[in-house]
């Protein structure tokens, strides 16, 4: 593996990992909040 590939892997890893972690935290926050909000306020369900 050439040196350039380490940077390529780092760039892809940071992007996909960053978005993946953000998405996971977002879904968890949504689940937590929806437990304290009445069902009638969750209109998309």
């Amino acid at each position: 593996m050439t040196e350039a590939w380490w940077y390529i892997v780092a760039a892809w890893g940071a992007t996909l990992g960053g978005v993946g972690i953000y998405a996971t935290l977002l879904l968890r926050k949504g689940r937590r909040l929806s437990r304290v909000v009445p069902p009638e306020d969750r209109r998309w369900m």
């Binding site: 350039a4 940077y7 390529i8 760039a11 992007t15 929806s34 304290v36 069902p39 969750r42």
Partner: protein
């Protein structure tokens, strides 16, 4: 797991699923995952190295979509801010804030990818040259937008303050975009769209279009979820406030 009672202990209603997902977002999420997998296949395996950039073009397959999505996010924030100042509805306020947060995420990733690409191409992670400097300013301005939203205030004041910042901040985008034309610097002069057209061909072009499409679908999926989380947070805050007022009323009646 479902919750059939309200936080105020009302009678159970029909069971409601917990979370911000819906059939539409599940389908969109599945499409996004397939597109990301295809992008990785084309971007890392199938497409050949570029004649000029060599293997580092594979970083550009991430860099161009993330910056495009960040620009779209900030433009949505600006449009939502204008709409809020006109209509004064919660929808536009929450949409603008949700989009700004995603814009910050994608723009921070853009700068990180750019730094990694810069190290392999220029030999340095960072230079205070026009495109990079204006990009840093853009990121800081939108972090400021999010910081202003975090200042305790009533919903209307917070929304008005952030709408004004959201409208002003978008002026930075053309400055960042044109920085390579207006001032001399290290960053290449080609724009986002012209990077795609002239010299790429075959599987390189497929990789770039797939990456752009995947980035867009992922952004839409995230935006829907982020908006719903913001909406739930507002309802939870309202619910907590109503509960506190009710308790005070009961305490007042019994004393």
């Amino acid at each position: 797991m479902t919750n059939t009672t309200t936080p105020r202990g009302d009678a159970p209603s029909a069971p409601a699923p917990v979370g911000t997902g819906s059939t539409g977002t599940r389908v969109l999420g599945a499409v996004a995952l397939v597109l990301v997998a295809l992008t990785a296949l084309y971007g890392l395996v199938i497409s050949p190295p570029d004649r000029q950039l060599g293997e580092t073009i594979r970083i550009i397959y991430m860099h161009v979509p993330t910056v495009s999505v960040a620009y779209i996010a900030f433009i949505i924030t600006a449009v939502s801010s204008a709409m809020y100042l006109w209509k004064r509805t919660e929808f536009w306020d929450l949409l603008g804030a949700s989009s700004a947060e995603l814009g910050v995420l994608f723009f921070a990733l853009t700068i990180l990818e750019g730094a990694l690409w810069g190290k392999t191409t220029w030999g340095t992670f960072w230079e205070w040259e026009p495109r990079l400097t204006t990009s840093a300013v853009l990121l800081l301005v939108y972090i400021g937008y999010l910081a202003v939203r975090a200042i305790p205030a009533d919903a209307r004041t917070r929304a008005t303050r952030s709408a004004i910042i959201g409208l002003v901040a978008v002026v930075n985008i053309p400055i960042v975009h044109k920085a390579v034309d207006w001032w001399r610097g290290l960053h290449q002069g080609r724009t986002v769209m012209s990077t795609i057209d002239p010299e790429m061909g075959g599987s390189q072009l497929v990789a770039m279009y797939l990456a752009l499409l995947a980035g867009l679908i992922v952004f839409v999926w995230l935006l829907i979820h982020r908006f719903r989380v913001a909406f739930l947070a507002e309802r939870a805050a309202d619910s907590g406030l109503e509960h506190a007022i009710e308790q005070r009323r009961v305490e007042g009646a019994t004393s």
